[in-house]
Amino acid sequence: MNKVTILEDWCKGCGLCVRICPKAVLAISTTHLNKKGYYPAEVVAPEACIGCAGCFRTCPDTAIEIEKE
């Protein structure tokens, strides 16, 4: 099972990962702010992740880690 982890306090809520993810695994939180005061990305459909690492590739702040099968 592929596992995506958002390093929440490194995220600036830019949404590029959400845009590029082919499986809608990620979304920008609308409920809580991170330490920087951004609404961070969060994993909303972990089981859908196919481990393509598109999110990791487009993240400007290397705020994502992926465990890939």
């Binding site: 490194w10 600036k12 830019c14 590739r57 400007p60 465990e67």
Partner: protein, 244 residues
């Protein structure tokens, strides 16, 4: 057995100051990964420009210089002549390279300087607050082209990759973009090819990377990536312009 994809140690463990959705952070990661993969961290130095990436000397876990505006290729030349068996890259924006630093980049290529240049083209001056750059598109509004760039007034944007590829000293010149997964993959491959060109001592190498600047384009990050595809790529065609 699972593999973990995470930050390379060549990219220092510090928060980047760049705006949300800025392309610099993406390219910083790529350059760092290439340095790690080529195993040259111990013999690699970098030269930061003046512009948004002026703080890049804080972000790479290698020896770094901070150069005066536009002069990174000259600084890198000085370093490379002292340490010809080491590797060096300049990391420059379009104001730094395509405006004040044109003489330095043209002559670094002209001399076939064995250095690599990572050139971020985001069609604007970021650090100083969104002024027109030599790469600003016709009609593009900036703080110094408030009614949109007028080509009769200040000409059409400059295409550095094509220009530098006509110089014999250039051994590898490519232009890529950050707006799609295929283009992200090609960008890192081009950066790696540029460093390999330097390692093989073939001459000057540069990758021009079309990169988003959400803050100064006045567009959300996702929208900025779309704009690269819709507006920038048609004027700045992607591809390899020189490969020796």
């Amino acid at each position: 057995m699972s593999t973990v994809i995470k930050k390379t140690p060549v990219l220092r463990d510090v928060h980047l100051h760049y705006c949300p959705g800025c392309g610099h952070g993406i390219v910083h990661r790529m350059v760092s990964e290439v340095i790690e993969e080529l195993g040259i961290q111990g013999k690699c130095a970098g030269v930061a420009p003046v512009g948004c990436a002026v703080f890049a000397y804080n972000y790479f876990e290698i020896d770094m210089y901070e150069a005066a505006h536009g002069r990174a290729p000259a600084v890198a030349t000085g370093f490379k002549r002292v340490h010809p068996d080491h590797y060096i890259f300049t990391y420059q924006g379009d104001g730094d390279l395509a405006s004040i630093g044109t003489a330095e980049i043209v002559h670094a290529a002209h001399r076939g300087e064995k250095i690599t240049t990572i050139f971020i083209n985001n069609a604007i001056y970021g650090m100083t607050g969104g002024q027109m750059a030599p790469t600003t598109l016709v009609g593009q509004k900036t703080t110094t082209s408030p009614l949109g760039r007028d080509k009769d007034h200040c000409g059409e944007p400059i295409r550095m990759a094509e220009m530098l590829s006509t110089i014999n000293g250039s051994a590898f010149i490519a232009r890529t973009a950050l707006n799609t997964t295929p283009n992200l993959i090609k960008t890192k491959a081009a950066i790696k090819k540029a460093f390999e060109t330097q390692m093989a001592g073939k001459g000057f190498s540069m990758v021009e990377i079309l990169s988003p600047c959400p803050t100064n384009w006045g567009k959300a990050p996702a929208e900025s990536m779309e704009w690269i595809g819709e507006a920038m790529i048609p004027y700045y065609p992607l591809g390899t312009f020189k490969e020796v």
